[in-house]
Amino acid sequence: MNCHGVIPLLEPFLDGELQPERVVEVEQHLEECSRCNERLRLGRALRLSLRRAMAPSAEPSAAFRARLAGAVEASRQREWETRVLERQVERSRMLSWRTILPVAAAAAMTLIWAASVDKPDRSERAARLENASNVDDLLEEIVNHHLSSRPEVTSASLLPSFDQEVGVPVRAPSLTQYGARWEGASLVPMHHQRAASLRYKVAGHEMTIYVYDSSRVQLENRLPRRLVGDSPVYVGTRRGFSIGATEHRGVGYALASDLNDAETAELVASLH
């Protein structure tokens, strides 16, 4: 190949964008052509000059870093507030359903209206709430949420922002020694309080761990007590689901899954 053919290839050659067979041809030509060698050196020199000239403008100042960190933090806060606000709107809708439902006739009317006007998931939720308020049973509520709640946040680092709503520190137990995989979290109403619902998957089983303020929500007296090692845990079955509960320093933990009671007891005990 002569200079005429090689010159258009020199830049892709320098940029590492030439196909291997072309690279060989260019290298062969470069061995015997001093002019093309000079062109290549020129390209390299230009690149080095550019890099060196631009290096100083790439150095972020401490002041800029600080300003940026503040802006990122503020943006994160806004993003989070928007999400909390959306959740609160959602919840206030749910609570208004709760007060309407006992008035049977009105509730029936409203449900018909909701089913015809609202999105399909609303009528499903209304039906679930109806069920929950009819039996007014905490265990029933736990099973219902386990069956229907979907994670709203998938990042465990956002859990601390649940603290205020739940009233106790919300942290995701790791449970990796049981092969449990974290999926995400949401806030759910529990016995007129708010609980964090943490979703896991254990060996193909869906599992929900509820974190709540144990001074306001009591599960212990509704479930048989048993000991795992020295730890007292409360385990029972409702509608085919195994439910376990325990309390540690004011934080209540409840677990719902289709595991057996012995497995539930062990998992709940590990939350201590």
């Binding site: 005429h4 964008e17 020129l42 390209g43 230009l46 000059s49 550019l50 790439a58 972020p60 994160r76």
Partner: protein, 216 residues
Amino acid sequence: MAPQRLSSRQFEEEVLQHLPSMLSVASRLMKNGSEAEDLVQDSVLKAIRARDKFETGTNLRAWLLKILTNTFINRYRRGGLERSVLDGPDADPLADGWVSASTMEALRDPESQALRPILEAEIGRALEELPTEFRLAVVLSDVEDLSYKEISDVMGCPVGTVMSRLHRGRRMLKSKLYEHARALGIVGPEAAVGELPSHESVVEIDQYRQKRGARS
């Protein structure tokens, strides 16, 4: 947590690692340092909000530079990057700016260290004089080491256009640099023969030199 999915904090940290690249490119698009910082800040915030759109396993730096370029275009260039008349087919693909490598190397490694800041300022100025889309292509390739494909994605143009912008950008840069260096007296006229007249191709350079030699 879903596998391979970074938490938002981890993602923020990764984004901030590419701050130097973003600043470096922004400083070639904006007139002054504080405008460049504003552009970087807006781009960082956009990137963090759009983190779900980033495909894990692809080049995060290229993705960030694309956001930065789009932010720049949306804010300052509503009509997109200017389509220079030079962006059409190259009339004369072989005519390249002829500055000898020894001249470039003199510019790169001046014997007098005192000249260095002056030369670096000259390179910066030569770069500033390039049309934006040529300047951006050259910086993304020569300084940021992006591939042609990545540059085409950042600039929203075909790979062929990237190659042509790079070629012409570099060619202009070489000749501008030579003019600057000569005006400053850093290189003498004998070190280079300047830009070739466009009707003459590079393969005829020896002939061209001989002609010039014969005339002088």
